[in-house]
């Protein structure tokens, strides 16, 4: 059986009609087209959509595709497509940001007190060690100086050499 569109005479007649008609239909919005695809429009509203579709045949496929939803399995989507689309909306105020768990005030005070005590102890220990080291060094240098610089104490060198020579 021949298809309806195979008749050359009818096709020529349609072309003649198409070439002599103006575009008159107002463009329906996406919601009206979707409602039409689902058969939810009343006759008057459906006629408006049908008139526009007749003048914009490239959109007829939209109705066919919308009616075919559910008849085809959903396509797998690459993760990068989903990731890029997700990035279009930044994080909102409704999202609770990460917060550190609250620490009780006495533990906080204890921690700061421990740090302060450690600093005091380290400072005191360092000062004590420094002082005793200085005292030791200064004590040695004084005795050495007296043995070397004092003219009355020349015997000590002799003693040293004599002791050394004696050994």
């Amino acid at each position: 059986m021949a298809a309806l569109g195979d008749d050359r005479e009818d096709r020529a007649l349609w072309r003649r009609w198409r070439d002599t008609t103006d575009l008159t239909a107002a463009e329906p919005d996406a919601l009206a087209l979707a409602a039409y695809a689902e058969g939810r429009l009343d006759e008057a509203a459906a006629e408006v959509v049908e008139l526009w579709l007749a003048e914009h045949p490239e959109s007829i496929g939209d109705i066919v595709a919308a009616r075919a939803i559910g008849q085809r399995p959903p396509r797998l989507v690459f993760n990068n497509i989903v990731a890029h689309a997700s990035e279009l909306v930044p994080g909102s105020e409704n999202v609770v940001a990460f917060r550190r768990p609250a620490v009780s005030s006495w533990r906080n005070a204890l921690a700061w007190a421990s740090i302060a005590a450690s600093l005091v102890l380290v400072s005191f220990g360092g000062f004590s060690m420094g002082s005793s080291a200085y005292a030791n060094l200064s004590g040695t240098s004084v005795s050495d100086g007296s043995s070397v610089d004092s003219p009355d104490n020349t015997g000590s060198i002799d003693t040293y050499f004599s002791d050394d020579s004696s050994t």
């Binding site: 409602a35 006629e47 939803i69 559910g70 989903v82």
Partner: protein, 180 residues
Amino acid sequence: MAEAANLEALIRGNKAEWDGFVRRYAGLILSAARGTARPGTELEDIVQEVFTRLCKDDFRLLKTYDAARAGLSTWLTIVARSTARDLQRRRQAPTTSIDLVPEGMLGVTAEPQEKLRLPDVLLSPRQKLIVTMIYERDMEVTEIATALGIDPQTVRSTHHKAMLKLREHFANEEKNEKTK
């Protein structure tokens, strides 16, 4: 498909809802865009354009959706295909430098071409749509019936009545021209 998207929370800018929406409908949008994509067009770009359009200007487009009028999947399919066509049109729009156009072609024709107007009521919108689907889109009767949700026999009879009207109209027109 379950229309489980919490659109109210989504259009308030809830990031988690948006992420869920993207995961749930990216496949559907990809399928819809694939049907209109010309060879060489990046499907990823089309999907991205659809989602951009949905959330642009504080979700202006998404706010126009009304669940009482149509299903979300159906509406998204229409939006996706229309966006895909717009994107491809923008990318393939021919641009010619004005310097390359001959001067004679830049002039505006003084006499507009008159078009023979047919009576608006000659064919009903349904008849116009069916003959357009047959001759412009080369669709089969069963495809048309499925697309319009009507019986194939109704498609045939509607086409038949439309062609009778056209034949009669043009026959009368030729007769009038001969008598002038």
